[in-house]
Symmetry: C2
DNA sequence: ACCTGAACACCGTTCAAGT
DNA sequence: ACCTGAACACCGTTCAAGT
């Protein structure tokens, strides 16, 4: 009879916004942006495509909600220490999350002002306040950090997706990119050629965190200057 | 007979990669990302949808090519002065270009390593070299600037598109965003609430350029530190 | 109130057939 | 070599009809 109760409960698990979002995240993770389809989704949830529209407005709503669920979890896991360290932790957490769920990158930039963005702004902004950045500069500092984090992370995720589409691993992909850049016209592309070698064996994540430190240094300079 | 020659010439203008890209940019500008369709494109070029595939690999190729044509034009227009000023000019030029052609933002992030990105890296990198940033840090500096420029510009463009979709102008949109943020839960979102007012009448472009200065300050700190 | 699934109006892409 | 346009295999979304 335990069995009976179990299967009864299971059948009572009706369609809900949360279960739809959970299934969407799974589909996006396994099949990328193209993997999320109302047909694939309804099949996975053993229902019809129309049923989903009772709980979700449209595909954009669905994508933002899926995005928000991952962002919320990521930010929730951050352990707060010093402001600088916490900002680095937020940055690294989002970088890794976007790396594992590459679809987040593009979903975030097409949902400005929506809840996932607000979560990120908030978590960064609270640390900016604790750094004693004057009120008039807080938005500049938080906005710059957020844009940088999302910008680099999305770019990195896009690299990974491109590599996967070409059936290469990360090393082979960077190798190929490095080779292409090193063969560019020396007259027109001296810089790209000169950094081509460095690209081959660089660590995107370390570079990213170095960029964060760069901005933190800039924020410190700004703070000092505005005090003078 | 002049007339005859003219119309003859005009008919001889057959389909070419360039004319396809030009038409694509026009469609993207007027109808956004959804406006670019092989059917709409072939109609505009008075041909069949299949004809386009003779000159272009697929839609992704088409989007990257359209993107590249705008980026190339933008970078070409930059007048070189001091390294810092030139970097600001590149940044402002790209910000404005992405503002006018909002579809560039998402197209750029989904085409990593492709020619438009290389153009941008190159133009920024050349200035970084002139700032006497040590070789080992050049890629970090150029990469950080690029990510920031593309990140903020895309975000800004996405804001504009969202506003347009809601039939609001920029002021009304920021007004609405500010109101939403000011009504957030004070316990959970103190920062977003506190900057809500500042968002209403801020200048995205000025904020963006302030962010660029922030990063330039960070690069200067990095350079000084690595010399010591 | 919530779900079903056929139907509608689209897509990108292919390909035999033309010139 | 280049173009045509019908056809294929999909989409997101709607909506009468069910429970």
């Amino acid at each position: 009879m335990v069995k009976k109760q179990r299967s009864l409960q299971r059948r009572e698990e009706s369609l809900s916004r949360d279960s739809i979002i959970e299934a969407s995240v799974a589909l996006l993770d396994s099949g990328g942006e193209d993997g999320l389809t109302f047909r694939a989704l309804s099949e996975r949830l053993s229902t019809g495509p129309g049923a989903i529209y009772w709980h979700i407005a449209d595909k954009s709503d669905l994508l933002t909600a899926a995005c928000d669920s991952v962002v919320a979890r990521t930010i929730h896991e951050i352990v707060e220490t010093t402001p600088e360290e916490t900002i680095r932790a937020i940055a690294a957490g989002l970088f890794d999350a976007i790396s594992t769920h590459p679809w987040i990158g593009s979903a975030l930039t097409s949902a400005p002002g929506a809840s996932p963005i607000v979560r990120i702004v908030e978590s960064i902004g609270q640390q900016i306040c604790q750094l004693h950045v004057p009120e008039t500069h807080q938005w500049t500092a938080a906005g710059a950090l957020m844009a940088f984090i999302l910008g680099v992370s999305s770019q990195n995720a896009a690299n990974g997706q491109l590599a996967r589409r070409q059936n290469l691993d990360r090393t082979d992909f960077l190798e190929a990119l490095s080779t292409t850049w090193s063969q560019l016209d020396p007259e027109e592309y001296p810089f790209a050629r000169s950094v081509a070698g460095r690209i081959r064996d660089h660590d995107d994540r370390a570079d990213f965190l170095a960029g964060i430190d760069l901005i933190l240094m800039g924020i410190e300079s700004m703070r000092l200057r505005s005090q003078a």
